[in-house]
């Protein structure tokens, strides 16, 4: 198995269709195939063992991904928002690498031995004008396709290992070959270093769906591109959707008549945001996708019909499914387990475990986290209802243990966010002599509004068990998020404890 097999099939099935468009430039599937082969030759002759990409989305992303597969080296998209020192550590870890970057970044990079730096323009020029060797790539399913450094919200970045067998299994398990209509266009606005950015390329190529890249997200640019390119499909993280809704302020509808499907994932979607979105995009099908870097992207889906049924239902149990991440893919199994490893029943809370061909659960240079039966501990805590709908409560590491009682920050945060004067809220556990841990809340009031500590405590106490009432409440201007809208809980906790960062 090799990712190149997917591109080869697309090339022979519909080679003249446009595969990817970035600004005014584009590549058909045949051109992408040729470029991958040519670039693979460049990588091979450089002697490098990995191809790294330190850049925003451009044609170099799909070319680099497939060229790496062709050359049999891992593709390593790096986070271009990292600082110089952080980046240096990662680049050293993956040396010797063939590193493609934009001209400015290339110049500011320190000279590192074992790193061949090539500008994006040069890389693409060579890939699209050079000669391509005989189509031939390693078929060992265990070869590494992609190394993705995880975002590091729980510690220093570590590289998740995705092998060809994981990614090809994911695509074969979730996408039907050539299933896209000829006018299907996907807007890709997540950066290449996010697993959703990688999965989007593989999924779209296999489905035959044209990709339009948005290198740098803003709600206005997203809306403009969606209109001008007649985008039919898009994936967004919750923060992006919230910004798009803000940018549409006051409009009765989003006026994107071509947008048939909008999927979202990569973080918790506030119920208020998805409800607003469904009103603003009345003709768009919504899909919630839950997945992790370590699982080659999506493992469960809440589909369009389930969104509609939940939104229209008066039964609170069914309406609540709008906040669920849906049911496992047919090719994946999910279990909720307690701390002793026992599988739990419907509604019981525990850690989410997943098993399937697409699941890697492996980090570079470390022992696999997958057990002997193939189960991967996601470190996400949650529950599953009687019909298999999964509800995520947050990271297992974020669970607050107060006097022997486990509580999830998400449960308390949901209640805080329902308060009309609260714009944003986060809950963390802080050390407490009496209870082991105490509940601490950081609250951001809406502009021009204020709310007292007493009011917050009463609000929570009226709605949840008294142990959930925050012992400490800090009012803040804003909460710390990473660039993809993921709350940096460790940073918040450190700030609340006065530890600095």
């Amino acid at each position: 198995m090799n990712l190149m097999m997917l591109l080869e099939m697309a090339t022979s099935g519909f080679g003249d269709r446009v595969a990817v468009k970035s600004g005014a430039s584009s590549l058909t599937y045949s051109q992408l195939f040729e470029a991958a082969g040519t670039a693979a030759g460049e990588i091979a002759s450089s002697g490098c063992k990995r191809m790294a990409l330190l850049d925003v989305s451009s044609l170099a992303v799909p070319v680099g991904l497939f060229a790496s597969a062709w050359a049999g080296v891992p593709f390593v998209p790096l986070n271009y928002r990292l600082t110089g020192t952080e980046l240096e550590t990662l680049v050293k870890e993956i040396a010797p690498s063939y590193l493609v970057t934009d001209a400015d970044r290339g110049e500011s990079l320190p000279k590192l031995s074992g790193t061949t730096v090539v500008t994006r323009e040069r890389f693409l020029e060579r890939a699209t004008t050079g000669s391509t060797g005989e189509p031939s790539w390693p078929m060992d399913p265990d070869q590494i396709a992609i190394l993705l450094f995880t975002s590091g919200t729980t510690g220093p970045p570590k590289a998740a290992v995705l092998r060809h067998k994981h990614l090809v299994s994911y695509i074969l398990g979730s996408v039907e070959f050539a299933s896209a209509a000829e006018d299907d266009t996907a807007l890709v606005s997540v950066p290449p270093y996010h697993v959703a950015g990688m999965a989007a390329i593989a999924s779209c190529v296999y489905a035959g769906r044209r990709i339009v890249q948005l290198p740098s997200f803003s709600a206005e640019a997203w809306l403009e591109l969606a209109r001008s390119e007649r985008v039919t499909n898009a994936f967004v993280v919750p923060t992006m959707l919230a910004r798009v809704i803000d940018a549409l302020s006051g409009a009765a509808s989003a006026d994107l008549p071509h947008l048939r499907a909008l999927s979202y994932g990569g973080g918790k979607m506030p119920q208020s945001v998805i409800e607003k979105a469904m009103k603003l995009f009345p003709d768009t099908h919504f899909t919630n996708a839950y997945g992790l870097t370590e699982t080659s992207s999506t493992i469960s889906l809440l589909g369009p019909d389930e969104h509609r049924a939940a939104a229209e239902s008066h039964d609170p149990e069914i309406r609540r499914r709008l906040t669920s991440v849906g049911r496992p893919l047919p090719s994946v199994e999910v279990q909720i387990r307690d701390e002793a490893g026992k599988s739990l029943g419907p509604g019981e809370r525990g850690e989410i475990f997943v098993r399937g061909e697409q699941v890697s659960g492996e980090y570079l240079g470390r022992r696999s986290t997958v057990d002997a039966e193939g189960w991967f501990p996601t470190r996400d805590s949650g529950s599953m209802d009687s019909e298999g709908y999964i509800f995520i409560e947050g990271r297992a590491d974020d669970i607050i243990v107060r006097g022997g009682e486990n509580m999830s920050p998400g449960e308390i945060e949901d209640v805080l966010l329902e308060h009309e004067a609260v714009a944003d809220a986060a809950v963390v556990g802080i050390p407490d002599e009496q209870w082991g841990e105490a509940v601490a809340a950081a609250v951001v009031a809406k502009p021009g509004r204020s709310v007292s500590e007493e009011e917050i405590r009463r609000w929570v106490k009226d709605r949840l068990r008294s142990s959930r009432t925050p012992q400490r409440i800090d009012f803040r201007e804003e909460l710390p998020y990473n660039e993809l809208g993921k709350l940096l809980r460790r940073k918040l906790r450190a700030e609340m404890l006065g530890e600095g960062t």
Binding site: G13, M139, A186, F235
Partner: protein, 103 residues
Amino acid sequence: MAQLKAGTRMRSAVCATEVMVVAAPPDEVEVTCGGVPMIDIKGDPPAGVSLSPDAAEGTALGKRYVSEAGDLELLCTKPGEGSLGVGGTLLSLKEAKPLPSSD
């Protein structure tokens, strides 16, 4: 007869068909295309074999074919004129239940 595993690739001895094994039964089986045993993806077809008219409905790119028992599933990576079979029975086209696109 051969023990197959997911990821194994084979080609037809009598037409252009190429497949990749998506799911394999635990026992050894003989997969045919056009009525003739399939060969290793890089292998050379034996002399004197020809497409059987009873197995000539063809394969289609990107389609999956399954055995009656459902334990063997093949993905067509290159189409051809032969039909796929196992143990003397032709495989049938697997009807896909489409999932909504998620990325």
